[in-house]
């Protein structure tokens, strides 16, 4: 069978695959790599060179600092990269004494410091590079991230997560027996999977033989919140808690936050773009709808930090269920 160059290239990349998938990892790992930013894992101490520096000088920087790639900067901005391969070619073709300007790699794949760590992981899986320069919004070079940096930060964070879980388990064992807690990750613009949490929650409530009206209200609240997180935030989580008194659904995201929460509770107010509207959402009904089906509703937000929306449906008073079309 004939194998194309592209296929071989793919094979080569898959051989170097990063041991973690940005899509199909255990929930805790996915949650951590969505929460952590590239800046949390990157190395901030960077050894750079200027484009007027010779390839030899850059080779000496590599040797002295035991690194295999040197970013080339101009007034703090990244303009190129010289790798060990470039140095080898320079030796081979006899231009090791020439300036980096002519020989550096200019087509760069970079990461931004506020991207989720999951982006970095998918880059390691997509490109055959071992490290990526990290730039900020002004395109200034602020760090370099290697696969080792990603793994180190991940292990550190998972260790914290385990400690949290252990302390939470101790708390829960002292609580009511019927307590159920679930967490779901919602990714930005992931409309293929948005609704998955609501589906799971609906199934669980049905299994618990909850009254159909309660199931419906909880499903609607959860679904609207899930869609909201997918449309408006950088990504977040849906937390579900059930005890013998109430269902609580909390949507948490990491930004961008809402300036005026009263405005978003008005029916018809929306910041969604035309594309979102073509999908059947973004008409400014999500949060008012959630409030309508809730017995208690709470929204807190801080611009630049994130938003928390909590919908509570009480189990002890189903006859007080809000009616169809009731305005908040």
């Amino acid at each position: 069978m004939l194998r194309t160059r592209k296929n071989r290239y793919r094979e080569l990349i898959s051989m170097q695959n990063f041991p973690i998938s940005a899509d199909k990892s255990p929930n805790t790992v996915l949650e951590v790599i969505t929460r952590l930013r590239v800046r949390d894992a990157m190395a901030r101490k960077i050894h750079t060179a200027r484009k007027t520096d010779t390839m030899r000088k850059i080779q000496l920087i590599m040797k002295a600092n035991k690194i295999s790639g040197v970013p080339i900067t101009e007034e703090g901005r990244l303009v190129g990269m010289v790798s060990v391969d470039d140095i080898l070619s320079a030796f081979d073709q006899g231009y090791i004494g020439e300036a980096a300007d002519e020989h550096m790699t200019r087509k760069l794949v970079v990461l931004e410091d506020d991207m989720p760590l999951s982006f970095a992981i998918s880059y390691f899986n997509k490109y055959p590079y071992h490290r990526f320069p990290v730039i900020d919004r002004e395109r200034r070079l602020v760090g370099v991230i290697s696969s080792r940096d990603v793994l180190t930060s991940l292990i550190r964070e998972l260790d914290k997560e385990i400690q949290d879980l252990e302390s939470r388990l101790e708390d829960e064992s002292s609580r009511n027996e019927s307590f159920i807690h679930r967490e779901y990750i919602v990714k930005k613009f992931d409309f293929e999977n948005a609704g998955h949490a609501s589906y799971e929650i609906k199934k669980l409530l049905k299994e618990k033989m909850m009254p159909p009206k309660i199931v419906r209200r909880a499903s609607v609240a959860c679904y609207e919140l899930e869609i909201n997180v997918a449309i408006h935030s950088v990504g977040g989580r849906i937390l579900f808690d059930l005890d013998d008194r109430q269902i609580s659904i909390t949507a948490l995201d990491d930004g961008p936050g809402i300036e005026d929460v009263n405005q978003v509770l008005q029916e018809g107010y929306s910041t969604a773009n035309e594309w979102i509207r073509t999908l059947g959402f973004g008409a400014g009904m999500g949060l008012p709808n959630t409030r309508r089906v809730s017995d208690d509703f709470d929204i807190r937000s801080k611009v630049g930090a994130g938003t928390l929306v909590r919908s509570v449906i009480r189990l002890d008073a189903p006859e007080t269920a809000p009616e169809e079309g009731r305005k908040p």
């Binding site: 409309f191 293929e192 948005a194 609704g195 609501s198 589906y199 609906k202 159909p212 009206k213 419906r216 499903s219 609607v220 679904y223 609207e224 869609i227 073509t278 999908l279 059947g280 959402f281 008409a283 009904m285 999500g286 709808n289 309508r292 009616e323 169809e324 079309g325």
Partner: protein
């Protein structure tokens, strides 16, 4: 709408193509909308959801309100993820070449018996 209408009748009168046939065989109310949040405000049961959208979120929305069936109008093509989800959630998924308004007119005839 007081009486139920059968999904078979809808398929016949609106010349529908059946993408998936779920267990429920009748509908007792019709909601037509291109806005999923509007659909989510309803308290009705045994719904036929009529929409000119064909994304998988239409199926998710139908599931949240326990809809019996979905009718996609304007001959909108159904993508694989939409039909897969309808099968998974066992919600009848029909398509018709009729535009949204004409589809509603035909459904109106069935409902009122004219």
């Amino acid at each position: 709408m007081n009486d139920s209408i059968t999904i078979d009748r809808i398929v016949l009168d609106l010349d529908c193509c059946t993408i998936h046939r779920g267990q429920k065989s009748t509908v007792s109310s019709v909601i037509a909308s291109g806005l999923m949040s509007d659909v989510l405000t309803t308290d009705r049961e045994e719904i036929l959801l009529v929409s000119n959208l064909s994304t998988s979120q239409v199926v998710r929305t139908a599931d949240m309100v326990n809809a019996s069936a979905i009718l996609v109008t304007n001959g909108k093509p159904i993508m694989g993820d939409t039909s897969d989800l309808a099968r998974e959630l066992d919600i009848t998924l029909l398509t018709t070449e009729l535009p949204l308004f004409e589809a509603c007119c035909e459904l109106g005839k069935i409902v009122t018996g004219n």
